[in-house]
């Protein structure tokens, strides 16, 4: 069982990428479980993924990196004992730090994970604002990534894109960066293939 953690600020495009990844994994015959953590009492992303035909575990009573990490651990243990899937995809809330989420795994007692990787999704149209308003969170999300994904490249203005590239290089030098267009699943392919190759899911 391998763990893939999707991180990134609110509205950065995590759910869209996960839906695309789910379709590719299903096409390869991989079994996958999805865990969604959202801020607030009503979970929207879980409903969207449900409309897309995915069954998801929803954790909506707080943030799994700082408030309810125990809920994530018990959910992962339940998934391990019931299904033992090839992959568990965790969509962290937009205000979670990857290190905060992963730190909870020291309490996990299920089947050990073969690998744990972090995909951080970045919206270039708001990165400048994020660095002004929620800089520590933004730095933490970017610097912990194994893969960085810049979304909305068709909607961003040229200076926003070039500033985003510079910021990512400065906060996470050497980390693989993928750029994707809104609602253009073909542009997701290099990222999805790279994630699947590194997970030995080909």
């Amino acid at each position: 069982m391998q763990l893939l953690l999707f991180s990134g600020f609110l509205g950065s495009g995590k759910t869209t990428l996960i839906m695309a990844l789910a379709r590719r994994m299903a096409g390869r015959g991989l079994t996958t479980c999805f865990v969604i953590n959202e801020v607030g009492e009503i979970g929207i992303d879980g409903k969207i993924l449900g409309d897309g035909g995915l069954d998801v575990y929803e954790i909506t009573s707080g943030c799994i990196c700082c408030q309810i990490g125990v809920d994530l651990v018990t959910t992962l243990e339940d998934i391990s004992s019931r299904y033992d899937p090839d992959v568990v995809v965790v969509e962290a809330s937009g205000v979670a730090t990857p290190d905060g989420v992963l730190s909870n795994l020291v309490y996990y007692r299920g089947e050990p994970f073969e690998s744990t990787r972090v995909v951080t999704v970045v919206d270039p149209t708001r990165l400048d604002a994020l660095m002004r308003v929620v800089e520590p969170l933004t730095r933490a999300q970017i610097s912990s990534a194994d893969y960085l994904v810049v979304t909305k490249v068709d909607q961003a203005e040229a200076p926003e894109l070039s500033d985003a590239r510079q910021t990512l290089e400065s906060l996470a030098p050497g980390t693989a960066v993928f750029e994707v267009r809104t609602d253009d699943e073909a542009s997701f392919v290099p990222l999805l293939e790279s994630v699947m190759r590194s997970g030995r899911w080909e």
Partner: protein
């Protein structure tokens, strides 16, 4: 007003229904709702829009969704959007920085009042008769 880097999650479940007949092009109505909430939040000096998003079900149970992360880009609508609906059940989540919960609630109410000002659409909380 709260600190610029603080956010109070706000969520509500709403009903929208027409004065008569059906709601035509509900996707457009939901897009306007999200953009009105964003505009009202910014008028109240929100420091950053996290996201304003909703999941919508018509009377037939088919679902679609809307999401806004910046006023400049506007709201995006996805899923199975019907041509018309006799009513809409909307789960709305507003995550904006720099505003207290009551301010967000006021922004949502003002947006809904604006949307319904023409008297063709009404709104209320789910389970509530208005």
């Amino acid at each position: 007003m709260s600190a610029p880097d603080e956010m109070t999650p706000y969520a509500t479940s709403l009903r929208l229904w027409p004065a008569e007949g059906v709601i035509e092009h509900p996707g457009g109505l939901v897009k306007r709702l999200l953009e009105e909430v964003a505009a009202r939040s910014e008028q109240m000096s929100a420091s950053l829009i996290g996201h304003i998003e909703c999941h919508v079900r018509g009377a037939d149970g088919a679902g679609f969704h809307g999401r806004l992360t910046s006023s400049r880009l506007g709201a995006a609508i996805g899923g199975s959007v019907p041509e018309s609906a006799s009513e809409l059940r909307v789960d709305l989540v507003v995550l904006v920085y720099g505003l207290e919960g009551p301010q967000v609630e006021a922004a949502v109410a003002a947006a809904l009042d604006s949307l319904c000002a023409g008297g063709e659409i009404f709104w209320g909380n789910q389970g509530e008769k208005c």
